[in-house]
């Protein structure tokens, strides 16, 4: 379809390739469904629950004791902004899940404040996701998900659950908060999977 908008020229990008429908921002917009939870690190806890109900837990000190990685990735929000070369520090999910016994295919991430989002387990492994606690060399701000958030940069950013408190592994795929509110179950920015059915 070619509906030209009379008089629109647009602001061209400088050759950087972005997923379809995205525009570049140098700011760091905030989008969330409710008030920002303020979680003190001494109260923070992260739990992985397997499909058989077995639980693995880390408190803040245990998370800090794990080997951390510096991560530089582009991020893409479903509301159409993309931010290039963002820098984070965090613990790889490969590290956290190394000793977890599971045959499950699906994960529901749960957050302080009640937010949830679903992700296939294979999308969290092999260097694709982290529990991030620093952004740009500083502790992660509460409004950006601090003290710790899931970081899954290859999917739309609502999958990178802020204020993450745990993962629940499952053999069946359930839908999370935005996924039940009309957004795509998987959310690949390069395939422009914004809304259910895309």
């Amino acid at each position: 379809m070619s509906t030209v908008s009379p008089g629109f020229t647009g602001r061209r990008r400088d050759g950087t390739e972005l997923p379809p429908g995205q525009y570049l921002t140098h700011e760091f917009p905030v989008l969330s469904a409710g008030p920002t939870p303020h979680i003190r690190t001494e109260h923070w806890e992260f739990t992985v629950t397997t499909e058989t109900g077995e639980q693995y837990k880390w408190d803040w000190a245990a998370l800090m004791a794990l080997p951390a990685e510096e991560i530089t990735k582009d991020i893409h929000c479903v509301t159409r902004w993309s931010k290039l070369q963002t820098t984070w520090k965090g613990v790889s999910l490969d590290t956290l899940l190394a000793d977890v016994e599971t045959g499950a295919d699906f994960v529901m991430a749960h957050s302080y404040g009640g937010y949830t989002t679903n992700v296939p387990l294979e999308d969290l492994l092999d260097g694709q996701s982290w529990i991030a606690y620093e952004f740009d060399g500083e502790p992660l701000d509460p409004e950006h998900g601090g003290p710790a958030r899931l970081l899954v940069p290859h999917l739309y950013f609502w999958k990178s659950a802020k204020w993450v408190r745990g993962l629940v592994l499952s053999d069946t795929e359930d839908l999370g908060f935005w996924e039940t509110a009309g957004y795509h179950e998987y959310g690949d920015p390069w395939k422009e999977q914004r809304y259910a059915g895309d």
């Binding site: 908008s5 409710g34 008030p35 159409r80």
Partner: protein, 232 residues
């Protein structure tokens, strides 16, 4: 699923904001608070899209958007200053299933908007008019000239259905002594109490939404009853 709407009218709201009235054939209807995606295409095929809240309640086949011009923005200056009646506009939607108010939803409704954050709240006000749902609107603006929907709001304020209160952050009209941001005291005075069972909708620029939502939680409001929408 993009579709081409026709601009029926563009109405100036303030020096920097316009309401765009769209004729949309076969509009499926929407819930108050939902938004649309708008897509612009240059003659050479270059495209840009942004999200805009729907400003009106569902009525037959026109819908309204209200856009505030962002200085140096790519899309909003076009929508506010260039777009005119008769032009086509590509849209997709309605979108969003959380920041919405549904007729029949339980309890009173507290609306708190900052700047163009009043847009989806106006849709809720329209959708609730004539129902028995009590609504209150607390609307923060820089100065009297920045008030969007002045006429609607005057009418609403004069009726018994809705309680409207404006907060001026930079410059107040004659007779209004208070100039300043929303604070705990003001919330205490103008919003439902935590025990009233209200659902609260807060919309506007990120810093505004953060500040107001934090104040509400600190005042004892249940975070689960506070819905927020941040415009970027």
């Amino acid at each position: 699923m993009w579709q081409v709407a026709t601009v029926a009218d563009v109405r100036r709201e303030t020096a920097t904001a316009s309401t765009i009235v769209l004729e949309v054939p076969d509009w499926p209807g929407h819930l108050a608070g939902q938004h649309l995606d708008v897509r612009l295409t240059a003659p050479d095929g270059y495209r840009a899209s942004r999200s805009y809240s729907i400003a009106s309640a569902w009525s037959a086949d026109t819908i309204e958007l209200t856009v505030e011009k962002v200085p140096d923005g790519e899309v909003s200056p076009y929508l506010v200053d260039v777009l005119k009646a008769g032009d086509p506009l590509e849209i997709r939607g309605p979108v969003g299933g959380w920041f919405v108010w549904k007729p029949g939803q339980e309890g009173p409704v507290q609306l708190i908007g900052g700047g163009s954050g009043v847009v989806p709240l106006r849709s809720m006000l329209q959708a609730a008019s004539g129902t028995s749902t009590p609504m209150r609107l607390l609307y923060s603006v820089r100065r009297p000239e920045s008030v969007i929907y002045v006429h609607d709001l005057k009418e609403l304020a004069a009726s018994d259905d809705v309680d409207v209160h404006l907060v001026y952050t930079r410059e107040a009209p004659a007779g209004e002594p208070r100039v300043g941001r929303i604070d705990a005291e003001l919330l205490e005075q103008y919003v439902y109490k935590p025990t009233d069972g209200a659902t609260t909708y807060v919309c506007g620029p990120t810093a505004f939404v953060e500040a107001v939502a934090d104040l509400l939680v600190a005042a004892g409001h249940d975070p689960a009853r506070i819905r927020t929408e941040r415009f970027g």
